[in-house]
Symmetry: C2
Subunit: 373 residues, 2 copies
């Protein structure tokens, strides 16, 4: 296994869109989402183990979840869990991990800089075809070995999804390492489209779903931060000597909260000129919504989805039901609803109202003083 | 307190209409229905304590529930719980209790027969104005002291309820003991009417709801059984010498299952000529249906009812929600539904589909081999 391969897992989310299934003390990435016995985080780590040495896997998370990470992934060392003292967005998260990898490389190589390759991935996505996924990552590593590129994975769309951002493909990349893999320059990133526009995107064949999975060399991403987020990059550079030492924690405690709340897409990818995309197809979902979970789950003859528990349906259609394991739901006269129970909270709402779930969560947080959060 | 006052509580029902709230192992009468800390059975007993000596209270139930009765009413002696070895209807239940009371009276009076007065009541009804209830019972006792009468309590209807049977009032009873109390001969018992007929009943002022609460003397009910259900009456008479002795149990085990499955209304009340009704008004519900529970519960501004648990409603109207204590329901986009969770079973159904709940229960019983029954 290539000792230069690094993996950065972003695991700081709170997943309130899946409340009450996800909770403040146990967000989505830590849940056994499908009742398989493995959490999404565990599945994510397992997916990388064959291609990234375990000591090169870094988890960036909120300090609140540090112990849960170490409990779920017992062969991680404590220092592999990077703790954000404040909730920022993906750019500071990735910059922190890059600074740490820089320090790790400096120690390993004793001054002789080799090409560290980094894959950055969310901790709470679903990937069905793991071998294809790893082949894609490997192709990405091969590409960035030869090119100073910020490479993103774009998913071939299968439906006019309005819940994802899209990437418009531009010219094909040149060179053996790109040939036959469809790697392209990125022409544009787009926000989540409305349904009409999503249909146009789908039909054009020029658009891919933005997966939030990135591949780049350490040098490329450090250069990009200095070019597009120089203030933040300088803050991290000031701590270069303490990264990976006992002083790192104090430095991060003070510095990190001063970082801007900005995403890597907005802060870097949309501005850089060397952004590429590798069209991918390995059964991916960001599991960002009940809708996406509903879409990819097995349905009965009335399009009802049941997860974890048993359920019997009468005159009911298009529902997604998840109760604690061993429980039974008997549902009559219900159409297109989400029914989710976890830890003393039962949510019943229309599937098309799921964007309100965050609000339900916040209302309950205030009303019940965090008891059900 | 009058030592001749007896009370027979019928507590053998399974209450599957309230599944999953009521369960085979814990039917409705044993549940703390309103979260007050007292079960319906306990509330029923408490209601009679001021007018019936505790040693004169008999509970007739299925042998399965014997221990639960004794646990919930610790000052009952074991022999006060009459166990039906098979599920019959109210006529055999009442005949069994009458036979036992006959034996108790024979012992107490050493041959000198006094006038034992019996009130028979279900164990799972709600009565809000308990003092008025007891005054009504006392008036009934006064009436049957002077008259060989089978007296039933008829509730003054407040709405065109289609879930109850009705009693049509006939001529007023004569005598001081009836005067001013409105006691009447019963002209007819009617089945549950449709809505149109129920409206006619309500407007006429001649009809009362059939409560299933009866008052009679021991002699009157024994005579009535001999007149209208002679075969069954003879079976009980054959055991006269063993009632109240250690041999009673063996006798009942053999004999009781041979009794017909027949209600007291159909077997006696609709046939006898000396049937009277006392118009009553003490805030009564048979709690026979979710609908009746919904009707009598406090509602929020959107006509939602929440029992036991917390609930927050969005765009929702006319629901009744009951979860285990300490749980929270968040409900959006739901109209006129029952949401009930208990012991690992969640039921969601339309309020107007509640007559199907028994079927849901039976389906689940078969499908899950009694696991959720």
């Amino acid at each position: 296994m290539n000792k230069n391969n690094y993996c950065v897992i972003m695991a700081g989310g709170v997943g309130s869109r899946f409340w009450p299934f996800s909770r403040n003390h146990k967000p989505k990435q830590f849940l056994d989402f499908f009742g398989t016995g493995r959490s999404l985080l565990q599945m994510t780590i397992d997916r990388f183990r064959p291609i990234v040495p375990i000591e090169n896997i870094l988890i960036v998370t909120n300090v609140l979840y540090r112990d849960q990470v170490l409990e779920q992934i017992p062969d991680l060392k404590a220092e592999q869990v990077l703790c954000e003292p404040a909730r920022r967005n993906t750019a500071p998260c990735i910059a922190y991990a890059a600074a740490r990898i820089q320090a790790m490389e400096a120690i390993k190589q004793k001054g002789e800089r080799r090409k560290a390759r980094i894959v950055v991935a969310p901790s709470d996505h679903l990937i069905l075809q793991e071998e294809t996924f790893r082949q894609t990552i490997q192709q990405g590593f091969d590409f960035i070995d030869k090119n100073d590129a910020l490479l993103t994975l774009g998913m071939k769309p299968t439906r006019p999804e309005t819940g994802y951002g899209y990437i418009q493909m531009g010219d094909e990349a040149k060179g053996d390492e790109a040939r036959g893999k469809g790697i392209c320059k990125v022409k544009a990133f787009t926000e989540k489209p409305n349904l009409e526009l999503a249909k146009v995107f789908l039909e054009s064949g020029d658009f891919l779903w933005n997966s939030g999975i990135f591949i780049w060399s350490l040098d490329s991403i450090l250069n990009a931060f200095h070019a597009y987020l120089p203030e933040m990059a300088n803050k991290f550079a000031e701590g270069e000597n303490v990264m990976g030492t006992p002083e790192e924690d104090a430095f991060i405690q003070t510095m990190f909260p001063t970082c801007p709340n900005i995403s890597i897409d907005y802060g870097v990818m949309e501005k850089a000129q060397n952004v590429y995309v590798i069209p991918s197809d390995f059964g991916w979902s960001d599991l960002g919504t009940w809708g996406s979970l509903y879409e990819l789950s097995d349905k009965d003859e009335n399009e009802n989805v049941t997860l974890h528990s048993d359920a019997t349906y009468y005159d009911s259609h298009g529902n997604i039901v998840t109760l604690p394991k061993g429980h039974l739901a008997v549902v009559q006269g219900l159409e297109d609803c989400i029914v989710a129970e976890s830890d003393g909270v039962l949510l019943i709402c229309k599937r098309d109202a799921e964007q309100q779930i965050r609000q339900f969560f916040m209302d309950a947080e205030v009303k019940f003083e965090g008891k059900f959060s």
